[in-house]
Structure formats: structure tokens, C-alpha cells
Amino acid sequence: MNFNHQQSAHCESGVMSSLLTHAGLPMSEPMALGLSSGIAFAYIPLVKLSGMPLIAYRMPPKHIIKTLSKRLGCRLHSATFSNPAAGKQALDQALEQGRLVGMQSSVFWLPYFPPEMRFHFNAHNLLAYGREGEEYLLSDPVFEQPVRCASDDLQRARFAKGALAAKGLLYWLEDVPSEVDWEKLIRSSIVSTSRIIDGLPLPWIGIRGIEYLARKIARLDEQAKKYNRLYLTHIVRMQEEIGTGGAGFRFMYASFLQEAGSLLNEPTLCAASQQLTAIGDQWRQFALLCVQHSRGKSEVPSLAEISSALLAIAQAERVLFKELARWAKRK
């Protein structure tokens, strides 16, 4: 198959960007994130990851795939399998038909991941573009180069059980349009992003979620040093590690705003992109404060300082997304 691997910052937007580009609709990764309204913030204490609350900087897994294919009007063919053998057969069959196949899998059981990065996260996305004997040719979007994976290992990763279990999910796109109405897509995606970020009456989602987390940090017990260290570094890991392009997707979304701005020749979007870049830098600064506090060496920032840095971010995002919503609704 004539397929060009492209490295991405995030697995799901990367997979969609590759699938669409391969099908003849060139699309950058930031565009895939932006048009699917993939950016968000959520603080979910009910869902625990190794004893810590789930903190997400984006919409739940599969949101980008589903929303983007729906908005573009392409048909998303997807299948899960209760029988692993049937899942392998379906993958082989699709590859024989010359398809580029998207797959969901666990990170932990993929042997080509460095050991330090292997955690039980079942909603990783990658592409298969061929098979040689018992080895699959994979395009894992977060890696620099295409990788190979033995059949048994891939099976284990695709059918790992647990939270967000992939159940061998396979997907590909059909009827991809070659032309789309960019203006309409960009406007509607920005409207729905602004609703998610600052329009839901829920205390844990969007800007309210950021404020909630800031209050949580301010209320941490100064004496519980070990817990605070694990809690603060957990926030940093959620923000930086799990394929976010740095600063919890903010830079990637800023890149989308810039691309959209030059596509539509809209200075408002380019200005918003600059603002969001500055907010992304604030997020990185916040991560640095968390780490400095945890390291506990000289000049430790206090919990109150960290909390107010986060409140400043919330305020800046609120202003920005209000403005973006106003632009998107204006005709």
C-alpha cells in the first residue's frame, strides 16, 4: 500500500488526519482536533486512575473519530469483536482488501512502547497498513517511524480487558468527500467547543472544572507532603504525558485556529490563536510550579500560588472562548 506515515502529537487526531489524507482529503492533525471540537477540560473524581481523579484536557476517547466523520459526512465503518480470533480475521481481511485500518488498543501490551511509558490505558489508537507473515506493519501516530508488531502481541493489546476495553475495535472511513464547506465546519465546531468549555452547568467540566481543580489545590493539606506530591505530579502527567502536544492540547488547538484563520482570511481567529498560545504557555508554567512544589527544593511556590495561577488560566480561557463564540455565531 502506498501510505505515508506521519508523526502526530495525539493518537486519535493523528489517526483521523492520516485516514482522511490517505482517502484524498488532506487534513492536518490540528485541523482534525479543531473540526471535531476535541478540546475540553474535565475533572472527574468518580473515575479513578491509580487512586487519583481523572483529569482530561480533551473529549472522551472516540469523540474525535465519531464527530469528525459525522461532520464531514463520511461513513465510519467500525466493528468490535467478542471473539479475538474473529477480530484477527477481520483485520487480515481488511488489509488484504488494501484498506488502511484504524484500531483501538491498550498501551501496556504494545512491546514497541518504551517501558516507562507503558500504563494500562486501553484507548490508544493506531493504524495498520500491512502484514508480513506474522508481523503487522503499523503506523502508530505518536512514533517518528512506522513500527512492526508481532501478531500475538497485537492481539493481546487489542483485546486487553478493563476500563475502556477496546474489544478489538477496527474502523475505517468510506465515502470521504473531496470538498467540504470549511467555513461552515469551522464555525459550527468552534460554537460547540465554546459550549463545552464554558456553557455547561456542571461544576467539573470546562472552565468550571478548571476553577474546581484550582480550589482543590488551594485546599490541599500542607502537611500531607507525599499525597500532595503524587496529586500535583498526577495533574502534570495528565496534562503533558498522554499525547497532548504539550499544555493539554492548547497549542494544538491554537495551531488549528491559525490554520482556520488563514484559510478563511479571518484576523479574529489568528488573534485568538496568539492568545491561546499565551494561555498554553501559562499551562506549562503551571505544570512547572506543580513540579517545583513537589520537588521541594529552594524557592518552593506555595499551594495558594499554584491555585491562583490556575485561576488566571481559567479566566483567560473564559475570555477567549467567549470571543470565539461571538465570532462563530456572527454571520
Binding site: 491509580s50 516507562e116 494500562h120 480487558k161 476500563a163 499544555a247 495551531s255 498560545t277 505544570a287 513537589s294
Partner: protein, 139 residues
């Protein structure tokens, strides 16, 4: 973030020689993809999580070898899980898993339950059977 601010802290980075893609702006403020060899702050956060698991794993190992618990807590942390994750992977209730942590209960477990643990850890069931019969050696 500007292109020259993209962190390149390759030393003791968790990426193991790999590079991650980030988006950053060039001199004119235009966005581009840029590779990062690692960021000190992120790396510290990862190491904290790994060190915590490591401590739990070693404690569980000592307790297992001293005969205080079954091998399951050790294997659980070794495979970077907690009780919740193990419950989700095996499809067993948490209270049952906690019961299986007791040595006498573990020794009575039928093969059909051991198979579920073996699958969760991706180990041969023979290995769990050997532990059940009192083997205390490393994997």
C-alpha cells in the same frame, strides 16, 4: 511556545530515545510541528508515578515471600495495576480479589479462577499453579 523553547531534556527522559511531536510557533508566529526529546518537568512527574508503583511492588513482594499474603498483590503491582484495574481485567468483584490476597484462600482457588488471573497478567496458568503450591521464587 516558540520553536527554540521546545524542551530537549533528553537526559533520563522516559521516551527512551524517542521523540515526541509538539506544536510550537516560529519567529513569525506561524505554527509548526516540532520534535521534543523530553521535558524535565514531565519526566519528573512520570518518575514519581513509577517510583510509587515500584515501592508498592517491593512491599508486596516481601509480604508474599514472608507468607503474609498470596502472590496476587505482588503480581498486581508488577503489572502496574491496582485493585480496581485488576477487578476490571479479571471481571471479579473487588471484595473477591481482596479475599484472594489471603494465603489460605488463594491455595484453595480452582483453576478456572486462576486462569482469569493468568489472562489478566498474560502469564501461563502453570506459573500461578506453581505459586499456589508454594513456590516463592522470582518470575
Amino acid at each position: 511556545m516558540k520553536l527554540d523553547e521546545v524542551p530537549q531534556d533528553a537526559e533520563c527522559s522516559a521516551y527512551a530515545g524517542h521523540q515526541k511531536l509538539l506544536y510550537a510557533v516560529d519567529e513569525e508566529g506561524c505554527y509548526q510541528g516540532a520534535q521534543s526529546a523530553g521535558w524535565d518537568a514531565e519526566n519528573y512527574a512520570t518518575q514519581q508515578a513509577l517510583a510509587e508503583l515500584e515501592v508498592l511492588e517491593q512491599q508486596a513482594k516481601l509480604r508474599w515471600q514472608a507468607g503474609e499474603t498470596s502472590v496476587l498483590p505482588y503480581l498486581m503491582y508488577r503489572y502496574r495495576m491496582d485493585e480496581l484495574a485488576l477487578a476490571q481485567c479479571t471481571g471479579l468483584w473487588r471484595w473477591r480479589i481482596r479475599r484472594h490476597f489471603k494465603v489460605p484462600v488463594f491455595q484453595q482457588l480452582p483453576a478456572r479462577i486462576l486462569i482469569r488471573y493468568a489472562q489478566a497478567f498474560s502469564l501461563p496458568v502453570e506459573q500461578l499453579l506453581a505459586y499456589q503450591q508454594g513456590q516463592l521464587d522470582e518470575l
